[in-house]
């Protein structure tokens, strides 16, 4: 639409006439504006121009210039810094991690946001739920990072993630009570996965002694009672496993009065290399295989008896640190996505959903074929906004990743800072180059959003 000299409006042919009419008064106003002197307009714009110039335009331009100089800023190096940025392994790790972030995080957050927005729409206390979900947004990124660094501490006593992991693990696989315990030397050989197999063979009716060493008597499971040697007169292959203390007056390989049985151990009877019977020791450490066929057997204590307890995952190690930081970001941003998407949902005409239900749609079909297409534009804006946000991620990586795994968790923004001011050695030329790369990466997403907003305003 162009404004003629007389303040008339010339509508492009595809515009409707009433639109042109609506623009009439505005066009008249704009012609009046033309009569105000240019210097006056400039005067009013000056404060904003100065601020924008000093704090926005100048730093951007200077960064671009600086990126073409060496670390001292004295020698012009052309695009060398950019070349170095793409060959330097740590910058490449940062690029790779940024790519992972962009591919995973915004998608997950958008999906979660959609899920929560839809779910909270149909419950009572929806506002309360949404407020809780939105709250992480109110916490500074730095503080959130600290929270999650604590959550993912490796020691289950400190980190809630591992505490939960250990609890769940132990609920399914009972932890062994005898970590690191072994059969007294000479009583057996270690085969396979730390299984102890007796050297001698036994027949039904024999008594097998399994003296254990390598733990404190106080560490025995509660309920362990004094060890006894199973009596004679039985035809079963039987025996006892006990904690064999050889101190003071104790005798090795023999059951003394003070010694206690080792309950809960798995014991296997092995014939010709195959396990033929399995049993568990009682409170006094005794066990028995009553129904064995005549023949020669060895007795085996499977290594699982002595396995070290599950202590959770090394969350903050090099392998898992990036997913861990992404999980923290998801926790923070889901509330943001949900709030926007919920607003989009509220704008969907209720009738259209009801019509789809009457038309024969199941709730899922209604969601997929009506709800999602109708909030598509909102989802896109949220997604792009998240992409921009993700590319600039810095604080979380800086706070959550411990020094040892920071290199593996590196992202561009962090790398820029490291190179410019941190351990990287103060090369602000390279830092500026990385900054410019980051800027170029964000730019397309930014332009997309701006264009969208413009189109909506029209």
């Amino acid at each position: 639409m162009t404004v003629g000299p007389a303040g008339t409006t010339e509508a492009t042919p595809d515009r409707r006439d009433d639109l042109a009419a609506a623009r009439g008064p505005q066009a008249a106003k704009s012609s009046r504006r033309k009569r105000t002197p240019g210097w006056l307009a400039l005067l009013f714009l000056l404060p904003a121009l100065v601020l924008l110039g000093v704090y926005l335009v100048y730093p951007v331009v200077y960064s671009v210039v600086r990126s073409m100089f060496d670390s001292d800023g004295n020698r012009f190096v052309g695009l060398n810094n950019y070349g170095e940025a793409f060959t330097d392994p740590s910058t490449r790790t940062a690029l790779k991690n940024n790519l992972i972030w962009v591919l995973v995080a915004p998608t997950v957050v958008t999906v979660f946001g959609l899920l929560f927005a839809v779910l909270t729409e149909r419950i009572r206390w929806a506002v309360a739920f949404r407020m809780v979900l939105f709250m992480p947004m109110a916490i500074s990124l730095f503080a959130s990072g600290v929270i999650f660094r604590l959550v993912y501490q490796e020691d289950p006593e400190l980190g809630v993630a591992n505490a939960a992991a250990v609890t769940v693990h132990d609920a399914f696989a009972a932890p062994s009570h005898y970590p690191g315990v072994r059969l007294r030397d000479g009583q057996g050989t270690v085969v396979g996965d730390g299984d102890y197999l007796t050297a001698k063979t036994y027949r039904p009716g024999d008594v097998v002694n399994l003296p254990l060493v390598g733990m404190q008597a106080t560490a025995l499971p509660p309920g362990a009672s004094g060890a006894i040697t199973p009596g004679g007169g039985s035809t079963a292959l039987r025996g006892a496993a006990w904690l064999d203390v050889a101190l003071l007056h104790g005798h090795p390989n023999a059951i003394d009065k003070v010694e206690k049985g080792a309950p809960g151990l798995t014991v296997q009877a092995v014939k010709d290399g195959a396990v033929v019977a399995t049993t568990t020791t009682g409170a006094d450490g005794t066990f028995s295989f009553p129904d064995l066929a005549p023949g020669d057997y060895r007795v085996q204590l499977p290594g699982s008896n002595f396995a070290a307890p599950f202590r959770g995952l090394t969350w903050l190690g090099p392998g898992l640190v990036t997913p861990v930081i992404i999980s923290c970001w998801i926790w923070i941003m889901t509330g943001f996505a949900m709030t926007f998407i919920a607003a989009g949902l509220a704008a969907i005409p209720r009738d259209a959903l009801e019509a789809a239900r009457v038309d024969g749609g199941t709730e899922w079909q209604v969601f997929r074929k009506v709800t999602v297409p109708l909030i598509g534009p909102v989802l896109l804006v949220v997604f792009v906004t998240l992409v921009i946000n993700v590319l600039k991620i810095f604080e979380l990586v800086y706070v959550i990743a411990p020094g040892a795994s920071q290199a593996s968790a590196n992202v561009l923004a962090l790398q820029m800072w490291q190179v410019s001011f941190g351990a990287g050695g103060g090369d602000q030329g390279l830092g500026s180059a990385i900054g410019v790369i980051l800027f170029l990466l964000v730019l397309p997403a930014m332009l997309f959003n701006i264009r969208r907003f413009r189109r909506e305003r029209r």
């Binding site: 009738d351 009801e354 239900r357 009457v358 024969g360 749609g361 074929k369």
Partner: protein
């Protein structure tokens, strides 16, 4: 196609408000039933319960031989036309109409065939590729109709489908809906607050007020034999004039109803038709006179006891007839029903002038009348068509 039966259907919302109270209706196969009433009377709620969009608090609804109380909307095989049309904004006209068929996983060829057929009937063939936002109101309305028709459902449910159209289009679409319904013979429940729509479309009209059924019957029956003040005032446009009068049984065995300083003679035919009237001798009651039953006495002439004399207060020439407003010296009738009708903007209720001792009556005169404002007039009343209501209960006086 099937019948729809509502048995003691009630709707109570979580906050305790009761929208529909023990509604009993039998809608036979192929019938066009109109639910009509002022806003908030529960007609839309009743419709939405049939559609399955609203839980049923009490009673049962059956479609065909199935009780559908616990059957979700999608399996009830009903099609609904919404007041807002509720088109899917992201789909073009073709896909809007085809939506229900796609969900039913019909073959592409079958869908195209049925949609094209329907589009032809509704004259939408040239618009199939357009999005709803690029359509005019009338076209949107037709798409909404098409979406309902294409599925050949058991029952059509229409929730004020014409109220967003301008007056001319409304009349046109009204005729179209009537024609389509007649051709397809699908059982239809139609909700409106417009009594003209109700009267013109319905095989049977159900008048509701505050969740209660007031009267159900053919349009002419509602007009001729309204069961109470509410129905009488609701049906007809302009609405029935209501004045309080006193019934007199004179010595010569003639019956008269006194309206202020004037009196009308109640003919024998009315007394035979309404035996209950005899019990009201000497008592006050509410007299209803339809505007159509009044005429300029100068044109028709009048006998004694058929004339009301007054001064023309306002004359509205409609072309086809002339509406003349004139006062009579009777205090206005103010019952709850009439207040409710007066509060509802959409209804052409009776004239109520509060705070005066006069009631303004409206007469519909022939256009040949030469009455002008301020002129003294004699109005001939067709006394055989007078209506009488009990002032306390508001119910019409027929037989005991």
């Amino acid at each position: 196609m099937s019948s729809v039966v509502l048995n003691d259907v009630s709707k109570t919302y979580a906050d305790g408000t009761s929208a529909v109270k023990e509604l009993n209706l039998e809608i036979s196969d192929g019938e066009f039933l109109v639910l009509v009433g002022p806003s908030g009377c529960g007609k839309t709620t009743a419709l939405r319960m049939i559609a399955g969009l609203e839980d049923i608090s009490g009673g049962t609804i059956s479609i065909g031989s199935r009780v559908v109380n616990d059957i979700p909307s999608r399996d009830r095989d009903v099609a609904m036309v919404f007041q807002s049309y509720a088109l899917y904004p992201h789909l073009n006209v073709f896909d809007n109409i085809a939506f229900g068929l796609v969900l039913r996983k019909l073959s592409k060829a079958e869908i195209t065939k049925r949609v094209t057929e329907v589009a032809k009937v509704l004259q939408l063939e040239n618009h199939l590729k357009r999005k709803p936002r690029n359509l005019s109101g009338g076209q949107r309305q037709r798409v909404a109709m098409g979406r309902a028709i294409v599925r050949s459902p058991q029952v059509f449910l229409m929730d004020e489908p014409l109220s967003n159209l301008d007056a001319k289009l409304r009349v046109q679409m009204r005729a179209e809906i009537a024609r389509i319904q007649r051709d397809l013979g699908v059982t239809t429940v139609y909700v409106t607050h417009d009594q003209t729509e109700a009267m013109t479309l319905g095989d049977r009209v159900v008048v509701m007020k505050r969740g209660l059924l007031q009267q159900a019957g053919g349009p002419q029956e509602l007009y001729d034999r309204p069961r109470n003040l509410f129905v009488a005032g609701f049906v007809g446009s302009p609405g029935m004039n209501m004045v309080s009068g006193v019934l007199e049984h004179r010595d010569d065995d003639s019956w008269w109803v006194t309206l202020g300083s004037q009196a009308l003679r109640v003919p024998e035919s009315v007394l035979t038709e309404r035996p209950a009237l005899r019990g009201y001798a000497g008592r006050s009651l509410i007299v209803g006179i339809r505007p159509e039953d009044m005429e300029d006495a100068a044109i028709l002439g009048a006998e004694e006891g058929q004339v009301l004399k007054s001064v023309a207060d306002l004359v509205e020439a409609m072309g086809s007839d002339v509406l003349v407003h004139f006062p009579v010296d009777v205090p206005p009738v103010m019952t709850d029903d009439i207040k409710e009708l007066a509060d509802d903007d959409a209804v052409a209720g009776p004239n109520v002038l509060s705070g005066t001792e006069d009631t303004v009556l409206v007469g519909r005169f022939s256009p040949r009348t030469k009455v002008f404002e301020g002129q003294s007039i004699s109005v001939r009343v067709d006394t055989a068509r007078l209506h009488f209501f009990d002032p306390r209960t508001g119910s019409s006086l027929w037989d005991d």
